[in-house]
């Protein structure tokens, strides 16, 4: 069932494409229409599973974890030799320099890859559409990042990000559960705050994936304007089994409004929707219409049910509020859907770029790196000789 392109790509020298996210990593070969695996970015140290990108990790431990993780990616998931193969890393433009340097050091020195290319994920995503101009919003685990791409050039100056993404939803679930939920532990019912249960990230993720959804705009508005005695038709509540003796009763309020944190405007008036509007305002006038007609939303958190519909409704509402009504003349927005599931759309862009002949000119070559040890922040195509 492999297509012609796939069999061409399935040679010994195909590039390996890895998209290392904070929560999940997508890995596979260039030229394939989907990654081979999507795995959590964790490794097990002496039996315990730990995240590779934990907070406040010093450089040496981060290096150890990253090396171990890359070894896993190559030999367990991809089953490919690292030597003599090119690598494409799909990453965001604002990846910290130390992580980039670490990756270059590990991949080029220790694993002896033949070349390493860093591909901007926003640019890669536009390749999947076949368009050269788009406004790409990536809603991941740690943050939501938006960057416009015009005529194939990523406009890094107008990059913006907001930390309302998967992790924020997890925190919100925790706090809402403490307020509204009840627990049946060993037969006795108590409120969540009394039961004092600490939920692991995995459990929170499971609750988010299976129980939560993004509430439609009208319902969210009516809930926020609720007076204390008015009734609100809640969503169904769920009995979530935590362990052999514990059941959490998750009320419909928690299910529906945990994801509100993405759309609630914080103190600066920012939310995921305003990211798009602010990017449009900052863009030059001639491009605004093009951007508004070509919005691409990718990322795992964007796969929540009802996300896109709500985003569209929010945008339509926000263009009429005083902050934006005089700055933006656009009243309609058009979204695109990539030929992939949203959580690996960026990887797909990397796969396309990795299969092209021009990959070599965009990469850091091993010989050059061993000579001068430079990892350029931005690729102009000319290696600093």
């Amino acid at each position: 069932m492999t297509s012609f392109i796939d069999s061409l790509a399935a040679s010994e020298k195909t590039a390996v494409v890895i998209d290392i996210g904070h929560a999940y990593t997508k890995c596979g070969f260039a030229g394939n229409s989907s990654p081979r695996h999507i795995v959590p970015t964790t490794i097990s140290i002496r039996g315990e599973t730990k995240r590779v990108f934990e907070d406040n990790l010093d450089l040496a431990s981060l290096r150890e974890r990253l090396t171990e993780f890359i070894r896993l990616v190559y030999y367990k998931y991809n089953i490919a030799n690292c030597r003599e193969r090119r690598v494409v890393i799909v990453e965001s433009v604002i990846t910290p320099t130390r992580i980039r340097h670490l990756l270059a050091d590990i991949l080029l020195k220790q694993f002896e890859a033949s070349s390493l290319a860093f591909v901007s994920l926003h640019l890669g995503a536009t390749y999947t559409l076949g368009r050269s101009t788009a406004l790409v919003l990536d809603v991941g685990y740690v943050e939501a990042q938006i960057m416009p791409v015009a005529e194939g050039v990523p406009l890094a100056v107008q990059f913006d990000s907001l930390s309302c993404a998967g992790q924020a939803i997890h925190r919100q679930i925790e706090s809402l559960l403490t307020q509204h939920a009840s627990v049946t532990h060993q037969g006795r019912k108590k409120s969540f705050a009394e039961a004092n249960i600490k939920l692991s990230e995995d459990t929170l993720e499971d609750i988010k994936v299976r129980c939560c959804f993004v509430s439609p705009f009208t319902r969210a508005q009516s809930y926020s304007k609720l007076s204390s005695d008015a009734t609100f038709k809640e969503a169904a509540s769920i009995e979530y089994t935590l362990g052999p003796e514990t059941i959490i009763h998750i009320p419909g309020i928690v299910r529906e409004f945990a994801c509100e944190v993405l759309f609630e405007q914080d103190i600066d008036g920012k939310s995921v929707a305003t990211l798009i509007l602010d990017a449009l305002i900052q863009a030059s006038l001639d491009l605004r219409r093009q951007f508004a007609d070509n919005i691409l939303v990718i990322g795992g958190t964007a796969m929540l049910p009802g996300f896109l519909h709500r985003l569209n409704a929010e945008l339509k509402y926000l263009v009429n509020i005083p902050t934006y009504v005089n700055k933006l003349a656009i009243r309609e927005f058009h979204f695109h859907s990539p030929p992939a599931q949203l959580n690996y759309a960026a990887w797909l862009g990397g796969s396309m770029i990795g299969a092209l002949d021009t990959l070599e000119s965009q990469s850091i070559l091993r010989e050059k790196y061993l000579e001068n040890g430079i990892v350029p922040d931005w690729f102009t195509g000319e290696q600093a000789a």
Partner: protein, 518 residues
């Protein structure tokens, strides 16, 4: 008993500077150095399915996407699925357990032969149909209403619905990229002064090689790197690539399925967990009834190669069923193993006597020399070693290890023997020549030595001490390019290793003293 071997306590220093337990280290016989996991390069030797051991060549495996054709995993719990057969026309389904390979079935169920007549005696022609079922979580292909297949191994993989569009896009970009590359190469050649004018077609490279002058330049040009990326691709005289249709915007965004999520009949157990979704990357089904059996992913056997000398350190047998090794240069087979046998309750001021055991895993007699760190410093021969010791001493060590007998400690070690060995002649001989101060106990390949630990200060929390052992190794010399006769002699050298011992926290109680040591 869990602390019997205490692997994490005794660490050897690898040639890259990191300390690891002996079982995790390799020994390269060409460089005569210890290598650890980070000093070796892994190479994939053989790819095979973990349940049916089907062994594929690398290029074939890559085309099959590293997945087995006949073994499947349950999408719910990830265990191997078992093929079951039933009769289509029988009144009672008689299940015949067969696994996909001809080997052992799950519990050694006996084959029951099914006659073609069913219970009521009617001569209906019955066909065997197969379905997959999981013996752990009881999921089966019937749960997703997949029709039972009449032949074995006919479970098709699911297609990626976006594949056609992806290939279209990829073709388009590939054409642009090749054109760009040709442009760039052409630009570079045009700076080279050639007598003949280059024809300006860009379609094929061979046509511009009219005078044969470009061939060496072309060959060189492809290999060199660091090419300028030209921003404009407007010079092509004929653009043969068809423009593709860019993606259309979504005409109508689907609103939330309110019936599904808001109503009281929402059964959240019918939704898949995130792990189940990510197992099938392309489809990622939302509900349990769209799960599909997953083809089993291959595992691989790797061979490891020393980075410095590029020789293999570990090479497994290529057949997946054999777990032996062709080349098995583990450090355990070359270097004696040291374990903590006894330590007293720690006192901060006095010298604590401890007992270490040394086990010889080699097949021949070895002479082991022990040195304390101070002695090496006094000797002042090996600068590199002294540097390493000083660094260790400053930053890591919290105690000083001294050994009895002031100098020239050498212990003879018995070769490794089988457990039921009874010939004690060599053993007795060695026992005669042992000094009672150093060697407390000796039995075949295992001896116990005494050492003294003095804490550096009273505020240490864990006790770390180090010393050096020296022994002789026989290496393999690499092929010498000079045609001298010495290339056939194996190289023997005395190598030294730094050993770091972590005795544990200061408040750990004393280990019980073995009766033979008292």
């Amino acid at each position: 008993m869990t602390t019997l071997l205490n692997l994490h306590r005794v660490k050897y220093q690898c040639s890259c500077g990191s300390f690891k337990s002996l079982c995790y280290l390799y020994f390269c016989r060409h460089c005569l150095k210890i290598k650890c996991k980070d000093c070796v390069i892994l190479e994939v030797d053989c790819r095979f399915c973990p349940s049916c051991y089907e062994h594929l060549q690398s290029h074939e495996a890559i085309t099959r996407k590293n997945r087995c054709q006949s073994c499947f995993s349950c999408p719910c719990c990830n265990h191997t699925l078992v093929t079951r057969a039933t009769n289509t026309s029988a009144a009672m389904p008689i299940s015949l357990n067969t696994t996909s390979d001809s080997g052992n079935a799950g519990g050694g169920d006996a084959d029951e032969s099914i006659s073609s007549t069913n219970v009521s005696g009617l001569q209906t022609p019955s066909k065997k149909v197969y379905y997959l079922a999981c013996s752990v979580c009881r999921w089966s292909t019937r749960d997703i209403r997949l029709a039972d297949q009449p032949t074995l191994n006919s479970w098709k993989a699911q297609d990626n619905i976006h594949e056609g569009r992806f290939n279209e896009l990829l073709q388009h970009y590939k054409q642009i990229a090749t054109r760009e590359k040709q442009e760039r190469d052409r630009k570079r050649y045009s700076t080279v002064k050639l007598r003949s004018a280059l024809p300006t077609t860009t379609t094929s490279r061979s046509s511009s090689d009219k005078y044969g002058l470009l061939a060496p330049v072309t060959r060189r040009g492809i290999r060199t790197s660091g090419i300028l990326k030209s921003p404009s691709v407007t010079e092509s005289p004929n653009s043969t690539n068809p423009t593709i249709k860019p993606s259309d915007p979504i005409t109508e965004i689907e609103p939330l399925d309110e019936n599904l999520f808001l109503s009281n009949t929402f059964d959240f157990n019918k939704l898949t967990t995130i792990t189940q979704r990510l197992n099938s990357v392309e489809i990622q089904p939302l509900t349990v009834d769209r799960l599909y059996p997953l083809a089993k992913h291959f595992t691989s056997k790797q061979s490891k190669r020393c980075k410095e000398c590029d020789h293999n350190v570990l090479k497994p047998e290529p057949s997946p069923k054999l777990i032996k090794f062709k080349l098995h240069q583990m450090a355990l087979f070359f270097i004696p193993e040291i374990r903590i046998w006894h330590h007293p309750a720690w006192s901060a001021t006095e010298s604590n006597p401890c007992v270490l055991s040394i086990v010889n895993q080699l097949d021949e007699q070895t002479i082991l020399k022990l040195y304390t760190l101070d002695e090496i410093r006094e000797e002042n021969i090996d600068k590199d070693l002294i540097d390493r010791i000083n660094q260790l001493d400053e930053y890591i060590l919290t105690s000083q290890l001294t050994l009895p007998i002031s100098k020239d400690r050498s212990i003879k070690l018995h070769p490794h023997v089988e457990p039921n060995e009874t010939d004690t002649k060599l053993d007795d001989e060695f026992r005669q020549s042992d000094s009672r101060e150093l060697v407390l106990y000796r039995k075949f390949a295992k001896i116990a030595i005494r050492c003294y630990i003095k804490l550096k200060s009273s505020s240490v929390k864990t006790i770390l001490g180090a010393f050096i052992i020296e022994h002789r190794v026989v290496g393999i010399s690499s092929i010498v390019s000079t045609p001298t006769a010495t290339s056939s002699n194996p190289v023997t050298r005395n190598v030294r290793h730094i050993i770091l011992i972590d005795f544990g926290p200061t408040d750990e109680p004393a280990l019980t003293l073995h009766s033979s040591l008292a």
